[in-house]
Amino acid sequence: MICVRNLAKSFGSFTAVNDVSFEVAEGEIFAFLGPNGAGKTTTIKMLTTLLHPTSGSIQLDGLDPSTHQNEARKRFGIVFQDPSLDGDLTAWENMEVHGVLYHVPRKVGRARSEELLKLFELWDRRNEQVKKFSGGMKRRLEIARGFLHTPKILFLDEPTLGLDPQSRNQLWSHVKRVNESERVTVFLTTHYMDEADRVAHRIGVIDHGKLIAQGTPQAIKEQTGTASLEDAFLALTGSTIRDESASPTDQIRQFAKMWSGGRR
């Protein structure tokens, strides 16, 4: 369903994703794990037509997202890591806009919106402007919105970020439900290893832009000789904290590039 070959993305001289290859089969739940700044979101952006790869190839359901953008977009749904709601609209209106943009028939859209807003406990506040929501409520709305249409592939970029345990459970059981009943392929990232262990069929570990391990949770634990996925993850990626901010020289380079007319 997803086939990635030698994918790379550079921002200026910095390589965020470096020669990554993997495949995700139809109906599979694939967890993409890695420390902060490893290149997970950048990979997802390339898979979802938001960024052009520097090199390498991608196929989504047999389509190249950089040449068949619209066709590819019809195949997937996505919950972003960063906010993507319209704060001036109400929760209900955000769902409505999404339904129209994704060609969900009006009636179906209304029924499903109601169902999902109830599931994620936002129904009572559906007519409030989203900018008045708490962080977790916004997050829940993003997720509810992501499930409004049924795509072939669902990308979830740290969907549980900032969610309470109740909502996390709701989310994962819903993910499993759509995966089993509608055979939706799921590509997810998370920093909670227990979640990945519980939900994912297969796992890929990325660090510094390179894919360093791939396999079932069981296989990865065996490969590293560890008892939990968390230990396996630490064994693979080391225990140093990643420096997210670019160094001063990098920033100067970026700046110079901006003025020399290079597009970021």
Partner: protein, 248 residues
């Protein structure tokens, strides 16, 4: 089609809900109308051009349409910052439709703003000479709104963040306004200024409005219309192209 409609509707809802912004954006035209309209009136009359308030009102209406369309085009930058842009960019809808929805939404808001300023100028004492032509003046307002909403989207698609905003205001929007003949008649300006004002699309829009509302114009209203249509088509194409190339 429905995607265009829903994005258009979204722009309208945002406008209606931003009370503070509506009031603020009416303040400036009001200031121009009252201070300039009454302040310059005696000089203008002595120069033999008639009533300045009558003359400047279409200019101030044009100004509010200009500002409001450019701002809503630049609203793209807010959507980029607050993330909603991503949601529309990954949707299975062609970017052309998304761009058109936004542009028409922005243009509609700008026309509403222009109508509000029209009402304010009429309260201040502005009287159209030919009431029959008022709908035609509205047509020119719509044309101005579309031209500059498209320009706003083209610029908004090309900038990464709000940093360039001040630059755009000072070196593009204000010159467009000042060189449009909104505040002074485009006659006897000397070759350089005449040439520059002829390059300003807003000059044709305001001239068209003046032709309809006051019966006086520097160009031919048909020329005005043709220029606005041509510039509008080019800017829509540029805006659509730039929009289709956005990466996040």
């Amino acid at each position: 089609m429905s995607a265009i409609y829903i994005l258009w509707l979204r722009e309208l809802k945002r406008y209606v809900r931003s009370h503070a912004q509506i009031v603020a954006s009416l303040g400036q035209p009001m200031l121009y109308l009252l201070v300039l309209g009454f302040g310059l009136s005696p000089v203008f009359k002595r120069a033999g051009y008639g009533d300045y308030l009558q003359f400047v009102a279409p200019g101030v209406i044009g100004m509010s349409v200009l500002f409001s369309s450019i701002f809503s085009g630049l609203g793209l930058l807010w959507d980029r910052q607050f993330g909603f842009l991503k949601e529309t960019l990954v949707a299975p809808v062609s970017r052309l439709q998304i761009m058109i929805g936004r542009t028409l939404g922005g243009a509609t808001v700008a026309v509403i703003q222009g109508l509000l300023v029209t009402v304010i100028s009429m309260i201040a004492g502005f009287r159209p000479a030919h009431l029959i032509n008022v709908p035609l003046a509205l047509g020119f307002m719509v044309a101005i709104a579309i031209v500059f909403s498209a320009l706003g989207v083209a610029i908004g698609s090309s900038l990464q963040d709000m940093q360039g905003f001040q630059l755009i205001m000072n070196f593009l929007v204000m010159p467009i306004y000042f060189l449009s003949g909104a505040m002074f008649p485009l006659v006897g300006l000397g070759p350089v200024l005449t040439f520059v004002t002829h390059l300003d699309p807003l000059a044709y829009g305001i001239d068209g409005m003046r032709a309809m509302l006051l019966g006086q114009s520097a160009f031919n209203p048909l020329v005005d219309l043709a220029v606005l249509a041509a510039v509008g088509a080019v800017l829509l194409a540029v805006g659509a192209y730039r929009f289709s190339k956005i990466e996040i």
